[in-house]
Symmetry: C2
Subunit: 401 residues, 2 copies
DNA sequence: GGCTTTTGTTGTTCCGATGAACTTATCTTC
DNA sequence: GAAGATAAGTTCATCGGAACAACAAAAGCC
């Protein structure tokens, strides 16, 4: 087995076929990332490759069924009409899975990012047994994978989003505080399922994957942002020039544990999560422990003073922690996800006030704050995109011999 | 510090000559980064290129006078003796400059990182006039550049380290709090000097460049670390896999402005600098405002209670801020630079205590704390290395036509 | 119906890495 | 000290891959 060679990546020697790999990946990205179908000539113009070269590359992608030709449409312009190229539909799927505190799910997307199938189950997995929960996930995934196989869809791979610290890709899961799981060999347990044993999931942190999904729907504007995801815990991620910043092990973005509110002595001091986690907000708002996000929003709409005060406190804490993060990573756009998206209306002012005050670069580059657009369960989509990315970076592996 | 064009870098089309560029840079790095001279055969073995290819590439590097052949040494082994290759000496120089709060200087290094010349002047530049100071810097740089030219050394370029926020590479300097400079067109002012007008310096933050020098002396272990530099201000930088993480504008690593010690309300709250900046430590130690680092160290050696207490407070604050940073960027090694290096003995315990307590990944990957090894004025070296890097990444530009 | 314009394809050429054979320079062994 | 053995570096034919230019195809324009 040859080592996985990426085209001319840093430190590796560039051979003849590195060129092909690189340009093939480049061409594929042009098709996948374009908002509407593109022609070979468009790709040539965008990449600087010649039309001849692009034609040869596209031929390979067509053969591999990664790209499809659509019917030409009348362009109303002079010249031979272009053949529109689009991501192939129903040929290749990527499967994203997620285990979170209150639900688990499976979502399959195709090369165009279209959802092919999805299954989501609610539950309460705080303090749950990993084997039991992961068995349940496998039971959810099996029919999805079977359905895809029946339809002749090739499965590019699987990935699993987890609300905790995961060693990049292969695991193990070190710690998921709100599940109360630690040192769980997730891949090993899932391998008990015969189907998943054949395509072990890549593991990653839920917030990082949600940020990936967000980066995709934004299609590059902004291409760099900090993503904070409010769930039971508070997660974060950094997207720089469209790519997830994973850190050394994949443990980056743990904003939830930012220390705030030390009262003079550094031995006390609560973390962001203790101010802006869902439980903290609910408690401060004076709602019962079982209150949901919807209950919080409702309280806000009724202008309940205690709720508004809780939102302001959470917003300030979030703003301070985000300012620290922005000062360190130098990214001027912040995206609110999870429950922070639902509560954005009530948090916005306090968050922005702290950001504008604490971020030293604010006078030269205003901090923008926006609400996540990636829809329900973005980490599931992000997990599938993670798989897709490996394919997009290495399309040569999918070519017919 | 932004990504200068790499051969076949992401998003660019790879042409035939991209291969050459890439492999040429790869070969050059092998020679420059090796601790001792290497042969063509060594390079071939290390890179996977064939000896034939390496020979051809090395010939070009010899012609460009970037690499030199040394006298063969008896290897005591069978076989034809290898021709040792080393960075060329005295052919190409990179010039690093620095303006800081209490000194300014110029340092020229060659391809091997050897210091060719350097000039440093002390001063007190708080609240200084940028034109005056930069004129003085130019007056310091001119003879250095002249000397190099006289000796037939080609100058690869210049770079300038500044203790503040600089827009990547071309400036302007947005803010240097301790100089009390803001929105200074540094490159424009230096262009009044006829010599520097011909080779305008790249600008970057002092801490980022010091971290670059540190990464160089460490030669890759650790290849990822957080660097905190205590000066009058507190600067920071992130090195990931040997490369400086610059952020979106080059404003990353501003750990000095981390908010700590908010007493319940988020409207108060001091920054790290107000606990661990030199002035803060001096004041808390009960020393006169004019006290130097040496005075602080002396007070520590005399076990003066107020000094030790000040060190403990600074260490705790630093530890909390570093923990926040490590949680966000996921790097398990911390390097203390500037005055923190001198005071490391007294800070270590408090810093480590906070790190071990606050970094959530500490149980799985112990945080290591070490002292900077890059010597005096590392940012000057780092600035020169910044220039060198552009050459190393694009050696093709230096080839004879 | 010729002309223009744009798309996609077909050779040919050129560049760069490979691989095998060859030369060079040492050590080893009898 | 001559004959291998071993390793370093070079030479040359070959091959893969992109560029370039010429050409065919399919439209609109007058």
């Amino acid at each position: 087995m040859s080592p996985p060679r990426r085209a001319a990546s840093r430190g590796r020697t560039a051979r003849q076929d590195s060129l092909r790999h690189h340009n093939l990946a480049l061409t594929l990205r042009q098709v996948l990332d374009a908002p509407s179908p593109v022609s070979r000539a468009d790709i040539a113009a965008a990449t600087g490759l010649t039309r001849a070269t692009v034609s040869a590359l596209v031929d390979r992608l067509l053969e591999a069924r990664l790209v499809a030709e659509l019917e030409p449409v009348a362009s109303q312009r002079a010249g031979r009409p272009a053949v529109p190229l689009a991501p192939a539909r129903g040929t290749v799927a990527a499967v994203g899975m997620e285990v979170n505190v209150d639900y688990l799910g499976v979502r399959a997307i195709d090369l165009g990012g279209r959802v092919l199938t999805e299954r989501v189950e609610s539950g309460d997995f705080r303090g749950s047994n990993p084997e039991v929960v992961l068995d349940r996930l496998a039971a959810l995934a099996d029919p999805v994978l079977a359905l895809l196989s029946d339809e002749g869809v090739m499965i590019a791979g699987t990935a699993l989003a987890l609300p905790g610290l995961v060693d990049s890709i292969t695991g193990p899961l070190r710690l998921a505080p709100n599940l109360r799981w630690w040192d769980v060999d997730v891949v090993g347990i899932l391998a008990a399922d015969p189907v998943l044993a054949g395509m072990p999931p890549r593991l990653a942190n839920e917030a990082n994957l949600a940020a990936r999904a967000e980066a995709r729907v934004r299609r590059g504007s902004p291409s760099s942002f900090v993503y904070v995801s409010g769930e039971v815990g508070v997660g974060g991620a950094i997207v720089l020039h469209g790519a997830i910043y994973a850190g050394r092990h994949g443990w980056s973005g743990e904003i939830g544990h930012t220390v705030l509110g030390t009262a003079g002595s550094f031995d006390q001091g609560g973390t962001l999560e203790s101010y802006a986690g869902q439980d903290a907000i609910v408690e401060r708002a004076g709602l019962p422990r079982s209150a949901t996000v919807a209950d919080l929003v409702a309280a806000g709409q009724r202008h309940e003073p205690r709720a508004l005060e809780a939102f302001a406190a959470a917003g300030s804490a979030l703003g301070v922690a985000l300012a620290n993060m922005v000062n360190i990573v130098d990214v001027e756009h912040v995206v609110l996800g999870g429950i922070f998206a639902d509560l954005a209306e009530y948090l916005r002012e306090a968050v922005l006030a702290q950001l504008e005050r604490r971020v030293i670069t604010a006078p030269w580059s205003a901090i923008e704050l926006s609400v996540a657009q990636a829809g329900q369960h973005p980490a599931m989509t992000g997990a599938a995109l993670e798989v897709l990315q490996t394919l997009v970076e290495e399309p040569a592996g999918w070519l017919p011999i």
